[in-house]
């Protein structure tokens, strides 16, 4: 192993986990979406079925074992069936990440037949749908139908709920609905502040009091329900004093391919300036993972600045998240400001202070919130060109 600085410069042969964002098209408009703000620019350049199968094959040959099929809403494409069965035959464990919209009896049967490993159903209650969701009407009916399909096809019911300031106080109702749907695993993850969620951060970040109550409610529910339903509660990283070990390190285990073929070390990296991310149309996966300058940019620790460079925790958290460092400090090589050793940590504490202040109810802030929709995405593209 080549060593640069004191962290081993690991160049694993290939990514263990490949995530295929097969389309950014989505029928939903979630205000916490982590897709890029300019996602609409990819609509005309989506990879073909053959392109995707080539990506899967090349990555599999490098030793990739987990494949995520996500989006946008992946079910907006009609070739998911062929991707699932081909990838499964290649030896992948295939995970489908969906809102459930478009999941029919016919499609789920084909997925099962094709060897799909698991389905993760997300609960996308944007504020637009919040009332709907909380009053158990349309959204709940759709989810229940999909949940039933998932169980009938012998899959565990894995539910992802994104929590934020506007829904976190209703966590008891959310949990009751999850139970009514027969969920086996429920991930209650607070929104992370990237892309659309960063734009809407002020409306999404819960107060400390909200978090404490929500965690208490979750614990009470966990005691009541026992092993029948597994609950995971994830707090926003802004409330920590050490950064998350983002992606287990840059170019370490994970590779994301965007709808237009851009290969990225995480979902968000497209935003980072100064790096040219390789496109799977132009390069093979072996070169992309092992040779491309972008995938090598933040491996090891030679890129690190102080306080990371001399920190004895740098092998634990790798300096946190490069995208968060860039978004909040303007330099991706800076320490993730979540770390309280960072000179920019005040950016985080200021946001946390803001989050403790009362805000008007959801209905009143509607015009200010940025919905993730094609109109807003196109407007943001124009703003930046």
């Amino acid at each position: 192993m080549e060593k640069i600085g004191s962290l081993p410069m690991i160049k694993p042969k290939g990514p263990l986990w490949v995530n295929a964002e097969i389309t950014y098209k989505c029928p939903l408009h979630c205000v916490f979406c982590y897709n890029p703000l300019d996602y609409a620019s990819t609509f005309k350049s989506e990879l073909s079925t053959e392109d995707w199968l080539k990506v899967f094959k090349q990555s599999r040959d490098l030793g990739s074992v987990q494949l995520g099929i996500s989006g946008g809403e992946p079910l907006m494409r009609d070739d998911v069936e062929i991707m699932v069965s081909e990838a499964s035959q290649m030896g992948y464990y295939v995970n489908l990440l969906t809102s459930g919209i478009g999941l029919t009896e016919k499609r789920i049967s084909a997925f099962k037949e094709g060897g799909l490993g698991q389905i993760q159903l997300s609960f996308q209650d944007s504020t637009k749908e919040l009332n709907d969701f909380l009053s158990s009407t349309k959204t709940f009916e759709l989810k229940s139908k999909v949940a039933k399909l998932i169980k009938e096809h012998d899959y565990p019911m894995v539910l992802n709920v994104v929590l934020h300031r506007l829904n976190i106080d209703h966590i008891d109702q959310i949990l009751e609905m999850a139970e009514a749907m027969g969920a086996d695993h429920v991930e209650l993850a607070n929104s992370q502040y990237y892309a659309w969620a960063l734009k809407n951060r002020a409306y999404l970040m819960p107060s400390e009091e909200q978090l404490r109550k929500a965690e208490e409610t979750t614990n009470r529910f966990r005691e009541k329900i026992g092993n029948k339903m597994k609950l995971y509660f994830i707090v926003p990283d802004y409330y920590a004093n050490r950064p998350k070990a983002c992606m287990n390190g840059w170019g370490s285990v994970f590779l994301n391919v965007a709808p237009d073929g851009l290969a990225l070390p995480c979902h968000e990296a497209r935003m980072l300036p100064g790096l040219t991310f390789p496109n799977v149309r132009d390069h093979d996966m072996e070169w992309i993972w092992n040779e491309s300058p972008a995938f090598n940019a933040y491996r090891g620790d030679s890129w690190m600045k102080e306080p990371c460079r001399s920190c004895d925790e740098r092998a634990t958290d790798f300096g946190g998240c490069r995208c968060q460092a860039f978004q909040l400090t303007g330099d991706a090589a800076n320490t993730d400001p979540v770390c309280d050793k960072s000179e920019h940590h005040h950016i985080i504490t200021e946001q946390i202070e803001l989050a403790q202040k009362p805000q008007p109810p959801a209905a009143d802030i509607k015009p200010i919130i940025f919905y993730r929709d094609d109109k807003n995405s196109k407007a943001l593209i124009e703003e930046n060109t």
């Binding site: 490098l62 464990y93 698991q118 565990p156």
Partner: protein, 94 residues
Amino acid sequence: MSDGTLVKDKLLSLQKQFRFQWEPAQESYVLLYPEGLIKLPGSSGEIMKLIDGSKSVDMIVAHLEEQFPGVDLKDDVLDFLEHAYGKNWILTDD
């Protein structure tokens, strides 16, 4: 989740969410499950290979004893199977 102890005459099978295979890149047998991988090097992979819904604990031990005559492997096999059962990687038929 399994709560009891492993019954030795019941047939063992892989948990339905799991996929067991040889991984050339890892040079090892592995168990794949939602978003994860467990490496099963050496004998653990050889034991797991025998779990196919048609053999009980006792049958697996007998099979391995025949394959490796003179080696006292019963305790190790039991340890591994109990571990796998406790982790919910394998199930018994009921």
